[in-house]
């Protein structure tokens, strides 16, 4: 096996086994871990306080305990998080940070302290009105409180210089991820859809420094390799692209991922920081500057045009909509960008998916036909 395949294999494996990866990283770094609910959490502050931020994005879990709190028409990622919380899957974490980007998350904020009483719960309430300059002030105050909470968990002061250092590391990580997703788009054979996803996902479970170094190594290897031709290339949009057997269908059909507009992937790192201001201001302005994400209010909704541009820039043949059932914000966006994408005559396939899908036969036929259509 070549070096790049080894590197990809190692990270992909880490992304596939969250619990083991987190436990290994905790052991290796000696850090306590803090869980972060979707969609965005200012991880830099957690890192600066000497803690390991861990992403909590559901899982293929059977629901039993979570049914105590939610009706069946609740987003499966949130149900999975609560289920796993109750079952003790997250017991190695010192605290869990819960956000409030949608009505379901707000309800999770209400239920979690009851459902998982022994876990320290820290709310991260971010403003959704980015036209309002006061949103920045609001964030700054929230970040200050958050810093204190993180410090009390680790017992380590997150000084300005440590914050600066962590922010620098995260900027380096985000730049590496932007490079990686671009290179993965031009090397769809070396980085197939499944590996691409798990390599990115591993970043949620590993210490960012070690992880970023690995990504940079992969990037260096990929840069030295000639571009590869895939059967077809698509842009993924939506909350996230799971489960694995769905991504396997892409690999199986020779469909590469040219670029993504997934909340779990590129939306996390596609926005560059502004050059000046305090660390907290730079974190805040990254949220203010993020475009095309359904979880923030956006005047005139840029997402449709962004997807069209993404298809053009990445040379993709079409768009795959990964629609998580019961994700209201994504469901609201779809009709709007659908109209624009259709007007631009870009083929688009709408797939309703859930993490708890053990059989993907229906999807298989649809994905295969889509490939036959766009080729």
């Amino acid at each position: 096996m070549s070096q790049v395949q080894d590197l990809i294999g190692a990270l992909s494996g880490a992304g596939k086994n969250p619990k083991e990866t987190v436990l290994d990283e905790m052991k290796r770094t000696g850090k306590k871990a803090v869980g972060c609910f979707p969609i965005y959490v200012p991880e830099e502050i957690i890192h600066a306080a000497g803690l390991l931020p861990v992403g909590l994005w559901g899982g293929n879990t059977e629901f039993k305990e979570a049914d105590k709190y939610f009706q069946s028409f609740c987003c499966s990622i949130m149900r999975a998080n609560v289920e796993q919380g109750i079952r003790g899957t997250y017991d190695m974490l010192s605290a869990v940070v819960i956000t409030s980007y949608c009505d379901t998350l707000r309800a999770v904020l209400v239920n979690w302290p009851v459902a998982v009483p022994n876990m320290k719960t820290i709310p991260m309430i971010l403003p959704q009105n980015r036209i309002e300059p006061a949103a920045v002030e609001f964030m700054l105050e929230k970040f200050e409180i958050f810093r204190g909470e993180m410090e009390s968990i680790s017992g380590i002061k997150a000084t300005e210089s440590m914050l600066e250092e962590s922010f620098g590391l995260y900027e380096r990580y985000r730049a590496a991820m932007r490079d990686f997703t671009e290179l993965a788009g031009t090397h769809p054979k070396t980085v197939n859809a499944v590996d691409r996803h798990y390599v990115i996902k591993a970043g949620y479970f590993m210490d960012k420094e070690a992880y970023t170094e690995k990504i940079e190594q992969i990037n260096t290897c990929l840069k030295g390799m000639p571009d590869e031709k895939a059967g077809a290339k698509v842009v993924l949009t939506g909350l996230l692209a799971e489960p694995e057997n769905f991504l396997e269908l892409l690999a199986e059909n020779g469909i590469g991922v040219a670029a993504d507009d997934l909340a779990q992937e590129s939306r996390q790192f596609r926005t560059k920081s502004r050059p000046d201001g305090s660390v907290f201001e730079r974190i805040a302005y990254r949220y203010m500057d993020l475009r095309g994400c359904t979880f923030f209010y956006e005047e005139m909704k840029a997402r449709g045009q962004m997807l069209i541009d993404m298809v053009k820039q990445s040379g993709a043949d079409g768009i795959l909509v990964c629609m998580y059932k019961f994700c209201d914000p994504e469901e609201f966006d779809y009709p709007v960008y659908k109209k624009e994408v259709e007007a631009a005559q870009i083929p688009m396939l709408y797939l309703e998916i859930e993490q708890q899908m053990d059989s993907v036969e229906q999807l298989r036929t649809r994905i295969q036909s889509f490939k036959e259509m766009i080729m």
Partner: protein, 408 residues
């Protein structure tokens, strides 16, 4: 003495006028705002800008059982059946622009508040884009602490100030702050009359039935800022007080045997069915988690205080706050049971119901039932299911009474 017109007649006339006035103003070339139901309407009232409330309009369409036409239209445009049916109805109305219930003019601006839900952001983002008009958002952060935090108040207040600037542009004139103060005073007064009236249902027997209260929700949304609202709610209060004084209960042909709290929005397409079944069992809805949301009280002339009131809604609060409020309602209104409407449209309320139900049951032994329904989409409700569950509630409430009587 002049023969007083009843509040019900007043309500009908005032609501008809509310809609016709908005259409008339639009025809005269004046601006119209579409707004969410719990928004600082004071600003528009003070600037004399016409406002319509699509949630109210969608409820009216739902109550007439006209929603399916709109729902199908929205679905054809790609809207999932899982999202709020008020939003689906309204977004389809924005295309069709014709309904038998009422008609509303096309908006020139949107004023949306995330205090009622995050859905309000996505819904109106789409409407604003469709009509290519500005949308002003007043975002209210969720309150994990028991009270509304100082930083939230500041953030909301700034957004209210920005809304004033935007609305001034739309109106073509500056805000008269003395006038705003007057409107704030009227709005508080109306909220007080609304509360005083709905509080009278705590009497045994209750002076009216709770479904009657649902009817008055349209005016508390649409007329909260003007003198018409004051007249209406004061009259309603007096009527109810007279019933209390005369010992008049909710019905002439039925006794109030059980008193329940209704959690969630009404099931508008089946308003009559849901009501008749309760009444036939002698069940009166005496209070609800929902009307309390319009008891918005704050210091007149103080934008911070106003921001705190709008940012402190029940749906934005922690489990402890919710439990306290519900407990106060359950004891204050002396309820025997709770009917939870598991409303497919309102995830924000639904996903708290199970825990609330458990808490209230363990605290007071109060009985409860859940039924599936929706605020406008008729397809999720089943009358047979509703009937069985209401009857089972009666049987459980009766069990409670027997235990009280026989002491076991």
């Amino acid at each position: 003495m002049d023969k007083k017109i009843s509040s019900k007649k007043m309500l009908k006339e005032m609501m008809a006028e509310h809609y016709s006035d908005a259409l008339k103003r639009k025809a005269e070339g004046k601006p119209v705002v579409w707004a969410t139901s719990i928004i600082p309407q004071e600003l528009m009232e003070a600037l004399d800008i016409a406002v319509v409330y699509p949630e109210n309009h969608a409820a009216a369409i739902g109550a007439r059982k006209d929603a399916p036409v709109f729902i199908n239209h929205a679905e054809a445009n790609g809207y999932s059946v899982d999202i709020c049916s008020y939003a689906r109805v309204n977004m389809a109305y924005a295309d069709i622009l014709e309904s038998e219930a009422e008609n509303i003019p096309i908006p020139d601006m949107i004023l949306s508040g995330s205090n009622i839900c995050c859905t309000a952001i996505k819904w109106y983002e789409n409407i604003a884009k469709k009509f290519n008009i500005p949308m002003v958002l007043i975002d209210s952060p969720f309150n994990m602490s028991y009270d509304v935090s100082a930083e939230s108040v500041k953030y909301i207040r700034k957004q209210i100030e920005n809304a004033i600037t935007q609305l001034e542009k739309l109106a073509g004139r500056k805000m008269d702050y003395d006038r705003l103060k007057e409107v704030m005073k009227v709005s508080n007064e109306n909220a007080i009359w609304w509360k005083k009236a709905t509080d009278l249902l705590a009497n045994k027997p209750s002076p009216t039935n709770g479904f009657d209260m649902f009817n008055y929700m349209a005016p508390i949304v649409c007329l909260r800022g003007n003198e018409k609202g004051t007249r209406l709610f004061k009259t309603w209060y007096e009527e109810l007080q007279a019933n209390v004084d005369n010992g008049v209960g909710p019905w002439q042909d039925q006794e109030e045997k059980y008193r329940v709290l209704w959690d969630g929005i009404a099931c508008w397409p089946y308003l009559k069915d849901t009501y008749v079944k309760l009444k036939s069992n002698g069940i009166n809805v005496v209070t609800s988690t929902y009307p309390e949301s319009w008891t918005l009280l704050y210091e007149v002339g103080d934008l911070d205080s106003m921001a705190r009131a709008y940012g402190g809604l029940y749906v934005l609060r922690s489990i402890d706050y919710i439990t306290d409020r519900l407990s106060a309602l359950a004891t204050g209104f002396k309820v025997d049971g709770i009917v939870f409407h598991s409303n497919r449209s309102c995830k924000g309320m639904d996903f708290k119901q199970f825990e609330i139900a458990r808490r209230l049951e363990s605290k007071f032994g109060v009985k409860y039932v859940f039924f599936d329904g929706d605020q406008t989409d008729p397809s999720t409700f089943s009358l047979a299911q509703y009937e069985t569950r209401i009857q089972a509630l009666v049987e459980m409430m009766e069990g409670n009474r027997q235990r009280e009587v026989h002491g076991i």
